[in-house]
Assembly symmetry: C2
Homo-oligomer: 433 residues x 2
């Protein structure tokens, strides 16, 4: 038997315990595949005396990070403790000491991904972070390996399980956003402070990581145009349904020639589109390649064992590289300079839901604004509200630029016949890519 | 610039031309990723004088295989010409001459996969065959890399595009099998001799390749229990629909403890299951992992550029390995001995469609046979046929073994009240795995 590769595990929460379990439960298969045992030598925790459910040898626990990053016998640091700045400092030190990194930390990667990969290259170390995007779905290696020969033109992903759970329940059970959110919090699917999920920030982090890889272009989190689902109305979902669409919180990254766009926003997709059928807390990433056409990767976006599966698969990859003596070669520097589309270069169809005076001329006044901006309409519903003299008007445009839509929104707001603009969302998945 | 890696391309049909196109069109991105150019040095064709649409330098063409496998400057053989025994001989020679192999040939791999990989190991060569299963979907590397740390318990795949196209059209347009098959042949989606597709043989080859990888067990094509869709009735699809199911031709490979089962057969899946929504010629592979849970990989299962994408991604992988000096390490010998389940160990729900006398006692006689074999019923439809004194009876059982079902079938055939057993199919995707 070959000598073991030693791991320093940072964090023994949900995912960390999952990593320990998988390394234990699948030990025999793992040894067969990588050719040597993988041993957890030290585990960094906040409190070594805390009662734990898991059967972990307490001699492995330490609250002193030096015992991991300064131990010459530790080959790989597996980081599943979360945190951004402090965690980056730990990993920076680890890389300087020639330790490879496997991390599930999208927050840290979205901010420090570029310098971390750079430092890894300088030290001939591997950095792997499959678990940071879409949990158990091997999307990062599908982009870097499986579709490596293709030119990726667009990615649309349901990459946040909490918001997909909320939208599924709202639609299937006819419930309000607030009601479902509260339930999700009670069941532990949503955090006590749910902002990162429902405001789209978590999804934006994943979009920035996927874009960097898919387009070989360095991007920043702040380059992603973000709108979450906070306070979304059931009526939006119901009208979308009536028009043949499902609303999903989609992360979108697209390339046109040499410029890219990135956004996270509630988006209508036709019922027939594979993304429309992704339910509950599941994730899915739809990829449009120049040559391959349309592919989709579906699975659990979070959860202890799915995430730990991704971490341990990454770890096995690193261990294979260590044994072959080829670490530090896997990451490729971005090939292109950052080049973002302007708002008049970002095109899609749009859905609008408006409340207006129910009187002669209203409809003409509204549609005239669209015509004046050269935006034509694909679908229209007008429904009297009954109780007072107002009507609900729902429109879906043909392709329009984001700049055109912003202009139209401003004009509509100032129209006297309009009582309110309830919502407007992007519409995707209908045109040929 | 580093020296180029030279490729010998065997075959310049649909996929071969696609490989040439992708290597040309994505040249810049490919060089950036692998660090050197990839050049096609020779192309093996049947007839060097044949008129070709593609802009291929005619000086590259040869009909003499020696010019590829004996050329010391050729590093990799890309085999996209099809064929089984003769093709294996070519690749055997290539490996003996230390050339790496990338192939899209499932027919050859299903028969000669094991000796080919063995010979590759002995010669420190790589063999890659992603394109041989589900075209553009990177399912092989998802099993070997992305889900490497997990224990795969079951795979269910729509891995034949032609039959999925036929079933989709039959269902959506209410047409007969024969009618849609003829159209598919006219459109080039089905071969003039469609047996390999519609009798399930093509799917069986893919199931055997996936099983070997997923379960780390050597299997033979003949171990797969195969039933295709030839002559399937629209009524089967319609009754399944009425009960909430879609019929798909599924390749199934499952492990229970240390034994496995493999089959290809028409299978009912509930409408809500992601496999039910895979339309037309698309492929999808649903994977149940011990830790990851349920994941699905979706995309084009065939076609020039999707298949060529998989081939070129494999080629890039091999080129990276050559440059790192680590070829011949990627394939792992099967870990387990072959161990197949007996028919009384293969369980699932089953769908039956029978025609019976429409008279008192018929229904009791039929259901008694199920009860006598300890098989309970989940769903039942009985419909008088109107024209004569017969009724159509459609049943879905709870879990039963294949042996129980075979016994019941024999008994039903001998029942005097039964006019005919129209069909019986497996039902999957409802139980917790």
């Amino acid at each position: 038997m070959q000598e073991a590769i030693n791991v320093g595990l940072c964090g023994l929460g949900t995912v960390g315990s999952g990593v320990v379990k998988i390394l234990e439960n699948h030990k025999r298969d793992i040894v067969h595949q990588v050719g040597c045992p993988i041993e957890v030598k030290k585990i960094l925790v906040n409190d070594v005396n805390k009662k734990r459910d898991e059967a972990v040898d307490s001699a492995l626990l330490t609250s002193n990070v030096e015992e991991l990053v300064e131990d010459p016998e530790i080959d790989v640091i597996v980081e599943v403790m979360g945190g951004i700045d402090g965690t980056y400092k730990v990993l920076e030190k680890a890389l300087q000491n020639k330790k490879h990194i496997v991390t599930a930390n999208k927050d840290m990667m979205a901010v420090y991904g570029a310098p971390l990969l750079q430092l890894a290259n300088e030290n001939q170390c591997d950095v792997r972070y499959e678990a940071s995007v879409a949990g158990g779905i091997p999307i990062i290696r599908s982009l870097t390996d499986g579709l490596a020969s293709d030119r990726i033109n667009k990615i649309m992903g349901i990459v946040n399980g909490t918001t997909n759970y909320i939208l599924t329940k709202m639609m299937d059970e006819g419930r309000t956003f607030e009601d479902v959110l509260e339930e999700a919090q009670r069941l532990g699917y949503a955090e006590a402070d749910p902002s990162s999920d429902i405001d789209g920030i978590d999804a934006a982090r994943k979009v920035s990581l996927l874009s960097t890889l898919a387009f070989s272009m360095p991007v920043d989190l702040s380059d992603v145009d973000v709108r979450g689902i906070r306070g979304m109305s059931y009526d939006d979902l119901a009208y979308a349904e009536q028009l043949g669409y499902t609303i999903k919180l989609l992360g979108i990254a697209a390339r046109g020639e040499d410029k890219i766009e990135m956004s996270v926003q509630p988006t209508l997709v036709p019922h027939s589109h594979p993304l429309a059928s992704i339910k509950d807390e599941y994730n899915a990433v739809y990829v449009y390649g120049d040559a391959v056409g349309e592919t989709m990767f579906y699975g659990p976006g979070a959860g202890q064992l799915p995430t730990a599966t991704a971490v341990v698969s990454d770890l096995m990859d690193v261990v294979k590289n260590i044994r072959l003596g080829v670490t530090g070669r896997s990451s490729v520097n971005p090939q292109y300079q950052k080049n973002l589309k302007e708002l008049d270069e970002v095109f899609s169809k749009f859905f609008f839901r408006l409340e207006a005076e129910d009187e002669a001329g209203t409809f003409l006044a509204i549609t005239s604004e669209f015509a004046a901006h050269d935006v034509s309409l694909d679908k229209i519903i007008q429904m009297p509200k009954g109780n007072d003299k107002t009507a609900e008007i729902v429109l879906v445009t043909h392709q329009a630029s984001r700049a055109q839509i912003d202009d139209i929104l401003k004009k509509l707001e100032s129209l006297s016949v309009i009582r309110g603009i309830h919502s407007y969302y992007r519409v995707e998945g209908e045109e040929e890519q």
